[in-house]
């Protein structure tokens, strides 16, 4: 038997395939999932490719089983992932909370489609941004990334797994119906090179309590089968992992779970600033929608309007400093009725305008340009 790894070169992939290949390159060796449009091709690619590299794929009976399985697998030290779309995320949210509470690194891909409910299964939506942040019950911080090209879909998977492992937290990897099914060329570097990008999780030292944090507030993770005699529970727990149902224990644990992310938010933030430096109007966007925005910004510049684009690659924790630092007016272009708009308003000291489409398709560059013209008064 020989493992079959990707060779260096150019590939013509859909976002779904790039997400799967990116995950495998980033060291993912365990996938449990349940098919749902537009993410199903991720499962199909994983089913084909994981056993080729000695990994494991399982199609579970539903999304709840899928996320439970990857949390279990992650405790064995595997980099584990599932992929779904809105309806599946809705089902997974309870266990996303379990992964947050028990500090288990997992990557959950959500290829967003038109919603609520079954919505527009084959088309794009961006309505799950707040769900990515607040989907499970309770007060917690989570990491969410969102690429906008097929190359980036591949590359950003390394960040997704590295951040999940570094901070022992679920990473919600947002895609959308456009990216999932769109094809572009992807360059895959030689294996030696991509393997250098992989950051492994901190492993618990003998004698260290399983939830005893290091200075960075992240406890190194003990693994199953190595004699740590771990106990993990979704109940509020102490540093041994034992339930401790007191207000004091809750205060301590929940503060740390939030702070371990917030204290490192600057390391987690990733944005693209395009022509923002001298801009009078900055369009904030992300994912598939940002493709139209960038085209519109270029058109606006040709007309002499000082427009720019701020593309959020990290959606959560919200990269608020990048809003605060500009004195331009903002337009938030998103395929929902206004979600990130509210976050931008929270931090902007200037005017914030909406540009919404309910999903199904991204704005055309001309629609964005029209809004830029309105806001800039030109």
């Amino acid at each position: 038997m020989t493992e079959k790894h990707l060779k260096e070169g150019y590939y013509f992939w859909s976002g779904d395939v790039a997400a799967a290949e990116g995950a495998i390159a980033a060291g993912c060796r365990f996938y449990a999932g349940y098919p749902i449009t537009p993410s199903s091709e991720i499962a199909e690619q994983m089913a084909l490719r994981l056993p080729q590299v000695g990994g494991r794929f399982i199609e579970m009976e539903d999304e709840i089983g899928s996320i439970a399985a990857i949390i279990g697998a992650s405790w064995t030290g595997e980099r584990a992932m599932t992929a779904t779309a809105g309806p599946g995320i809705s089902l997974m949210n309870e266990n996303i909370g379990l992964a947050v509470m028990t500090e288990v690194p997992i990557v959950v891909v959500n290829a967003m489609r038109g919603a609520p409910s079954t919505g527009l299964p084959t088309l794009i939506g961006q309505g799950d941004l707040m769900q990515a942040r607040y989907g499970s019950h309770g007060s917690y911080e989570i990491i969410s990334l969102y690429p906008n090209s097929i190359q980036e879909t591949f590359d950003l998977m390394f960040d997704a797994f590295n951040l999940a492992e570094k901070y022992r937290v679920p990473v919600i990897y947002l895609l959308d119906g456009l990216l999932a099914h769109m094809y572009e060329r992807v360059y895959v570097p030689p294996r030696e090179e991509w393997e250098k990008r992989i950051v492994r999780r901190k492993r618990a030292r003998k004698g260290q309590l399983p939830y005893e944090p290091d200075e960075d507030l992240v406890p190194p993770m003990p693994l199953i089968g190595e004699g740590f005699r771990i106990h993990a529970t979704g109940l509020t727990h102490d540093e041994r992992g034992y339930p401790n149902l007191t207000p004091q224990a809750q205060e301590k644990l929940i503060r740390r779970l939030n702070e371990k992310i917030l204290r490192h938010e600057r390391e987690i933030w990733k944005v693209e600033e395009f022509m923002t430096e001298d801009a009078d109007v900055i369009v904030v966007s992300f994912g598939g929608e940002s493709r139209a925005v960038k085209a519109a910004v270029k058109k606006a510049r040709k007309e002499g309007i000082k427009a720019g684009m701020l593309r959020l690659i990290t959606i959560w924790p919200f990269p608020w400093e990048y809003i605060r630092k500009y004195s331009a007016d903002f337009i938030v272009a998103e395929l929902n009725y206004g979600q990130i708009y509210h976050k931008v308003r929270e931090y902007a000291e200037t005017k914030v305008h909406k540009l919404n489409k309910m999903g199904g398709e991204i704005h055309t560059p001309d629609e964005v340009l029209k809004r830029i013209r309105e806001v800039s008064g030109k």
Partner: protein
């Protein structure tokens, strides 16, 4: 020192004794089942560092909190898929799901069905006390027809699951039912199942005097135990028709199915990995 004494001493090491006394009510049968489980593990000479116990939510769900091995108290109903993830990722581990009837068969029923169908290499210890104990005694998927609970104040109109029926129909290679009265048979059954492979299911009828017994004319722990003693009939290899379990009726117990050598999901996947790496060049 005798073997039994040895066992008892070693058993203490498999308990998180600093957490005792446990949360279960006086006379609750879960402790008896846990006791039998730990003794079986010790009799098998299993490496405790390679043993994993996964529980869901509810009274029985707390079992994971008392065993001094890698142990997980997960979300309601999801113990089986969580365990599937562990076992599939690390097939060398012995993974046991220790959970209750509501957790495994109501909210978690679909996982039970599909994991059994796929024949994952898991031992399922299903403690059936006929009720949702931790939430105060509502009726569940195993509450016998006619029984009184807080949500069946006029008697339960539902028809309950017959767990061995379910497990056997799904092809589970080992299926047994005991009550907490049958401490020795239970221990032997778990001991045997631990030595087998595939999706093994042991249902243990257990007493909940606090919220079930007292609404069904069995107020004290002992009266529930006496009920098990009087009404249970050991019938190994019983047919489907014979596996009776009814309200105020017979409790047919025994080892109902024991089949070796059905390939597990994990074994079949090893073959997938071989084929994926050998076929079609690269």
């Amino acid at each position: 020192m005798s073997i039994m004494e040895d066992l008892r001493r070693e058993e203490e090491k498999l308990l998180r004794t600093e957490r005792l006394p446990h949360v279960w009510c006086p006379g609750c049968g879960i402790g008896i089942v846990l006791n039998a489980f730990l003794r079986s593990v010790l009799r098998r000479n299993m490496d405790p560092n390679k043993l994993v116990v996964v529980s869901g939510i509810g009274c029985t769900g707390r079992a994971a909190g008392y065993v001094n091995v890698d142990s997980f108290h997960t979300t309601h109903g999801r113990a089986i898929p969580f365990a599937v993830g562990i076992k599939f990722a690390r097939p060398d581990l012995n993974v046991v799901v220790f959970s209750g009837d509501g957790d495994l068969f109501a909210i978690g029923g679909n996982h039970f069905i599909n994991a059994a169908r796929r024949n994952h290499d898991l031992l399922i210890i299903a403690v059936n006390n006929f009720t949702y104990g931790m939430t105060g005694g509502q009726h569940g998927p195993t509450t016998p027809t006619g029984a009184y609970t807080t949500t069946t104040p006029y008697g339960n109109p539902d028809r309950p699951f017959n767990i061995p029926h379910l497990a056997i129909s799904l092809g589970a290679p080992y299926v047994a039912r005991w009550t907490t009265y049958h401490v020795n048979q239970l221990q032997n059954s778990i001991h045997k199942a631990l030595g087998m492979k595939g999706f093994r299911v042991i249902e243990i009828i257990s007493q909940c005097p606090t919220v079930y017994g007292r609404r069904n004319y069995m107020r004290s722990p002992l009266s529930m135990m006496e009920y098990f003693q009087k009404n249970s009939i050991v019938k190994n290899d019983a047919t489907f028709e014979e596996m009776e379990l009814t309200y105020n009726g017979k409790i047919v117990v025994g080892e109902f199915r024991s089949v070796e050598d059905i390939p597990t999901y994990e074994e079949r996947y090893e073959d997938i990995i071989r084929r994926a790496q050998n076929e079609g060049g690269d």
